[in-house]
């Protein structure tokens, strides 16, 4: 596709509106004498769009959408968990208590929140370090999603699109996007919502309506013309786009135990999202945000997965090939390819800014989280650094941008058929689930949970995640550590225990972390290692 004046104009208008809204939000905050009035005047739809646009990124739309094209509509189980766990349970059972406790403890980051609750500086330093080291993987997958879209949309090399995409995002972050101004996030969320709904309507309309579209996809599986293309998937357990993979097959384990469980539960422990609970002014805003948040997430991942799967029927009609084959065997290029092929240019440009919006809103909060992890959590609080925290934070953001970009660039050397974006995102979500979920639940609901149990659960969860992800799981081969140390893709490959490599990390690491937490809690008697006065303060008003 040629770069037309129209496309450039749409992108420029989008960037200008972002800058304007960012300036407006900044000015409003500065001149507001009473933040409470301003805060309570914020429309809940704006707040929910802001949360949603941070939650959903190019990783979800491009990465997981492409995965749905390969695995089928079984991925909708993830959408179901995204809504039920990521919005309903997160806001009601985690959000309200986190907000109250976070305010009582004067916590401003996720590591700081858990550290103050358990009165342990070690927790803050450890989580800060883990975020700073692990989150670039997630940020890299968001960057890759955007860069893949630009690459496909303009038909330019990946390295060029990566540079273009990162430059725009970096300028945005440095110009103040990291302040997380609600208006900007909400504007971006609004564009994402409208674009995705239009995409869903377009996909169903092109295939003759909802029922007919699903039937076309169901029938495609039996079509003799595609049997060669799907032969490898069928061997792995694939049974069609409108069926679940065969129970117990490698694809079934990958879908259920790695993707659905890993990402579906992992949303509860995303540091950049937990902080959002603390920025709302009352439980009323959280109640209202449940309304629009549920609908927004449905329109994001639900649409991306349905369109991803349906793209097979459309690509087959147009090219005689299924989606992955029509897009050069690269899973992460399927959604961009779908937009380029089936959507008129006037809407393609709108979708381009949808992708920019999806990436910018998530990346700005990711870089902000990594920056504060380096500056506030690690340098200032854990190392008792007396230097310039602001400088360290800014330096941390810069390092995070460079590392994330380098990872996104290095992914070109990895096998592309199974979706690199989804793998990188999942591994980060699995890490936060295994390391932080037991102590986060304990922090909110178990007053007598000992400090030792919180630390023990966190360390055992992280340790098991590391060992399983990099040395046992089938995805270990992506990270080369096992190859480097032991010369094999994973430690169970070729042994009688090879079946273990299919089991998702969350299914192993989370139970280990929970078990260690429970055993240490029970064995500590009534000693929590935290003063009663501190615990009284933590649970004040709960």
């Amino acid at each position: 596709m040629q770069i037309s004046f129209y496309t450039i104009a749409v992108v420029l208008v989008f960037l200008f509106v972002n800058v304007f809204l960012g300036w407006l939000g900044f000015k409003h905050t500065r001149t507001s004498q009473d933040y409470l009035l301003a805060g309570r005047g914020t429309h809940p739809v704006i707040m929910a769009l802001s949360y949603g646009s941070t939650f959903i990124s190019t990783s979800a739309i491009v990465g997981f959408g492409g995965l749905a094209a390969n695995m089928g509509l079984g991925l909708l189980w993830l959408t179901f968990l995204n809504i039920l766990v990521g919005i309903f349970i997160a806001f009601i059972f985690f959000g309200k208590r986190t907000r109250r406790m976070g305010h009582t403890l004067d916590a401003h980051t996720f590591p700081e929140f858990l550290s103050r609750r358990f009165d342990s500086p070690f927790i803050q330093g450890f989580i800060g370090l883990v975020i700073f080291i692990g989150m670039p993987l997630y940020a890299a997958s968001v960057i890759k999603g955007g860069a893949n879209f630009v690459q496909s949309y303009f038909g330019i090399p990946y390295n060029v699109s990566l540079l273009f995409f990162v430059s725009i995002v970096a300028i945005y972050v440095w110009m103040g996007g990291m302040k997380g101004v609600m208006y900007t996030d909400a504007f971006q969320g609004g564009i994402m919502f409208i674009s995705m709904i239009a995409l869903l309507i377009a996909a169903y309309a092109l295939l003759g309506g909802v029922g007919q579209a699903h039937r076309s996809l169901t029938d495609l599986y039996a079509n003799p013309a595609i049997q060669e293309d799907i032969a490898k998937s069928v061997k792995g357990g694939f049974q069609g786009w409108t069926s679940m993979p065969k129970a117990g097959s490698p694809m079934w384990w990958s879908l259920i135990s790695t993707i659905v469980m890993g990402v579906g539960i992992g949303v509860l422990t995303q540091p950049q999202l937990v902080v959002r609970y603390m920025t709302v002014k009352s439980n009323r805003e959280l109640n209202r945000a449940v309304f629009s948040g549920g609908i927004f997430i449905f329109a994001m991942t639900g649409v991306a997965f349905v369109v991803g799967a349906l793209s097979n029927a459309l690509f087959f009609r147009e090219t005689g090939k299924i989606a992955i084959s029509a897009n050069g065997g690269v899973s992460d290029l399927i959604i961009p390819g779908f937009i380029r092929t089936f959507i008129p240019e006037w809407f393609g440009a709108i979708f381009l800014i949808c992708m920019l919006a999806a990436a910018m809103s998530t990346l700005s909060s990711q870089f902000h989280t990594m920056g504060t992890a380096a500056g506030r959590d690690l340098f200032e609080k854990s190392f008792k650094g007396k230097g310039n925290t602001i400088l360290i934070t800014r330096f941390g953001i810069l390092v995070a941008i460079v590392i994330s970009t380098l990872i996104a660039w290095a992914t070109t050397g990895l096998p592309q058929a199974e979706g690199v974006i989804a793998k990188f995102t999942t591994i980060f979500f699995e890490m936060t689930t295994a390391s932080f979920l037991p102590l986060y639940v304990g922090a909110l609901y178990f007053r007598n949970m000992p400090k030792a149990a919180a630390v023990g659960g966190m360390l055992s969860g992280f340790g098991t995640w590391f060992a399983w992800s990099f040395f046992i799981h089938a995805n270990s081969s992506y990270f080369l550590l096992c190859k480097l140390f032991f010369g094999v893709d994973n430690l169970v490959a070729g042994t009688s225990a090879a079946w273990m490599s299919k089991i998702g990390t969350t299914l192993v690491a989370l139970p280990v972390a929970v078990l260690v937490t429970v055993v240490l809690s029970l064995s500590s008697g009534r000693k929590t290692g935290i003063s009663d006065a501190h615990l009284d303060k933590c649970f004040e008003g709960l």
Partner: protein, 59 residues
């Protein structure tokens, strides 16, 4: 059902819609609930927000 080959896909398709409806119903039913009423709590939150603004504006 709905053109799907597998009943579990039809089930999850419907569950996605129902979970979004559940969120919408919960949000509407609790639209005006949960306002902070105690002055001390409101002041405490104001203080938290001020500090948070200071942290963000520094960066």
């Amino acid at each position: 059902m709905l053109g799907f080959a597998d009943g579990s896909i039809a089930l999850v398709f419907i569950l996605c819609i129902l979970s979004a409806v559940l969120c919408a119903v919960y949000g509407i039913a609790n639209w005006n609930k949960g306002m902070e009423t105690e002055k001390a709590q409101i002041l405490e939150e104001a203080d938290w927000q001020k500090k948070n603004d200071a942290i963000e504006n520094d960066q």
